[in-house]
């Protein structure tokens, strides 16, 4: 598999106002490559630089130093910004800020209409996208009649109608209830598994990150950890130090180990914990 997204020595800083002499640094020397079809979770506390990092992936921001390549296109090339955005779609935290039309299917069609896709093709892609996120039955509803989770799935449908290779989601479930969160996460996971869509999920919820293939932890604008979920979450103390959480069962395993029990440290789910518990009890 080739790299879809490649960060090479990326640093980013900004000026708060014109008079400000000293730029404020956000990212430092970030190196990161993401392959086609990967499901990557990005963790970090507020202000760690994770959203800034995400915004580099579809050229909303461009690096101050270093290069970001999206499917071998340098994001600094202003001529090709629209090509990049067709590769990479973004979903944001607040569903209400992303929905523009008054009818669900018109909202999903919005970008396609702007791109001048023929009407028949639009109809097909909108229907398919709505079916993919499980919102086809609501195609003629007004968005304000939907729950937060449903709105977020409509926003995702709007992105997948563009057939992107990659979806970047910046805390898409922060404003949702547990049911809405489950709906959105299941949708994301299915897109990744069935269509091999590359998914980059920024989140504060560790139970979501556990479901990714890979977890990238960002702190103070640097990539602090980049590994499979087990290898990341096993570092309970280090994660807590930088203000992050681990799943409750992982914390419990860690606490048991501290109390002298030879419990496996890398249990991330209820099932894994139960297995490990049985192993010890039945040994």
């Amino acid at each position: 598999m080739s790299d879809l997204i490649e960060f090479q020595h990326v640093s980013f800083s900004y000026h708060q106002s014109e008079e400000d002499a000293e730029p404020i640094p956000v990212l430092h020397e970030v190196n990161l490559s993401i392959k086609k079809g990967e499901f990557v979770a990005v963790l970090g506390h507020n202000g760690s630089g994770k959203s800034t990092l995400a915004k580099h992936i579809n050229a909303i921001l461009q690096p101050t130093e270093g290069v970001v390549y999206v499917d071998h296109i340098d994001t600094r090339d202003d001529e090709l910004v629209f090509d990049i955005r067709q590769h990479v779609g973004m979903v944001f935290q607040n569903p209400d800020n992303q929905i523009v039309a008054t009818i669900v299917e018109e909202d999903v069609a919005f970008a396609l209409e702007n791109l001048g896709v023929p009407p028949k093709e639009i109809r097909r892609r909108v229907d398919d996208a709505l079916k993919d996120v499980g919102m086809f039955a609501y195609r003629e509803h007004a968005p304000h009649q939907l729950s937060g989770g449903q709105k977020q799935r409509v926003a995702i449908a709007g992105i997948i109608a563009m057939n992107p290779d990659c979806i970047v989601l910046d805390e898409p479930t922060a404003m949702l209830d547990p049911k809405g969160r489950r709906e959105v996460l299941n949708t994301i996971e299915r897109l990744n598994k069935e269509y091999q869509t590359t998914v980059i999920l920024i989140t504060h919820f560790m139970d979501e990150a556990v479901r990714a293939d890979r977890v990238v932890v960002v702190d103070e604008g640097r990539v602090l950890m980049d590994d499979v979920p087990k290898a990341v979450f096993v570092q309970v103390e280090r994660l807590k130090e930088i203000g992050l959480d681990v799943p409750q069962v992982t914390e419990l395993a860690y606490e048991l180990r501290k109390a002298g029990v030879a419990f496996a440290p890398d249990v991330l789910t209820v099932e894994e914990f139960t297995e490990e518990f049985k192993r010890i009890m039945e040994a």
Binding site: N46, A174, E251
Partner: protein, 287 residues
């Protein structure tokens, strides 16, 4: 006496149209003074509609709300007093900040309450202390603060009015784990120090289990349950069925029970989970 009491509280939206819908129906609730109550329920369960009735922002279609034994809609004067007695912190309250300095923003409520200058000063200091903002923040613009700090300023603005009941609608939404813990610890400390009644709307069962004494579960406009945390989580299966989540440790203990390892009680915190499991290992003969 219950500080908050509702009787057959019903609120219909869109009455007389084909879209008529009961946001809450026949809610009967009694909350004792001094409780820290977690309010949970999925989107559309009626929890926001309910809390907006408690300080008279919404008028019931039918039924009554009593705060401290008084029907809040008895007269306009009482209604006005209720607005200060029951402080409501909305979701994303930092969007409501508007003043030039932190100090002025927090002082806005007490000033409108007719506090004397001296009282306003004291209320502001007290509120800032409650939310852990040092004096250094007084003269700062609220707009140059971080998200978590802004939110603390907004909460302080409500605390400064010295409400008897403080209601917070998802005060941790959008915060990172550290910001979330900071806010919840502050609320918990405030509750302990003031012995006030606090209602905390949350989507996180982990947080409710950790901080609250009672839990109110709303479902489809009705009170699904109101009781202690242990009572609530003893109905874990039903709670999951209505689209809510129970803490991961609670799910873990139902899974362990299915394997024949009964805890003999509801487990919803990591601290308790650890004790029980260590005991099991001990009984087994030292793992």
């Amino acid at each position: 006496m219950a500080i908050i009491k509702t009787e057959h509280l019903t609120h219909l939206y869109g009455t007389g149209t084909p879209f008529e819908k009961a946001a809450i129906r026949d809610v009967n609730l009694e909350i004792e003074e001094g409780e820290l109550v977690g309010v949970i329920g999925h989107t559309g369960s009626g929890k926001s509609t309910l809390i907006q009735h408690l300080n008279g922002l919404l008028k019931p279609t039918s039924g009554h709300i009593y705060i401290d034994g008084t029907d809040i809609f008895e007269s306009v004067q009482i209604l006005q007093k209720t607005r200060f007695k029951v402080g409501l912190v909305f979701q994303y309250p930092e969007y409501q900040l508007f003043e030039e300095t932190v100090e002025k923003d927090i002082a806005f409520g007490p000033k409108n309450l007719g506090f004397t200058e001296e009282q306003v000063k004291e209320a502001v200091s007290h509120a800032m202390e409650c939310v852990g903002l040092s004096d250094a923040f007084r003269k700062k613009s609220p707009f140059e603060l971080s998200g978590g700090q802004k939110r603390r300023v907004a909460i302080a603005g409500v605390i400064a009015m010295r409400p008897k009941v403080l209601i917070l609608d998802e005060p941790t939404a959008g915060l990172d784990p550290k910001g979330r813990d900071t806010i919840l610890n502050l609320i918990s400390d405030y509750h302990r120090a003031e012995k006030n009644t606090v209602l905390l709307v949350s989507h996180s069962m982990e947080d409710v289990a950790k901080y609250c004494s009672k839990v109110l579960v709303m479902n489809q406009g009705h009170v699904f349950s109101y009781g202690t945390v242990a009572e609530t989580f003893s109905r874990a299966d039903e709670i999951e069925q209505i689209g809510l989540a129970v803490p991961q440790v609670t799910r873990l203990f139902s899974a362990l029970a299915k394997e024949g390892y009964e805890a003999g009680e509801e487990v919803y915190t990591i601290v308790r989970a650890k004790e029980i499991l260590l005991e099991k290992f001990l009984q087994k003969g030292g793992a």
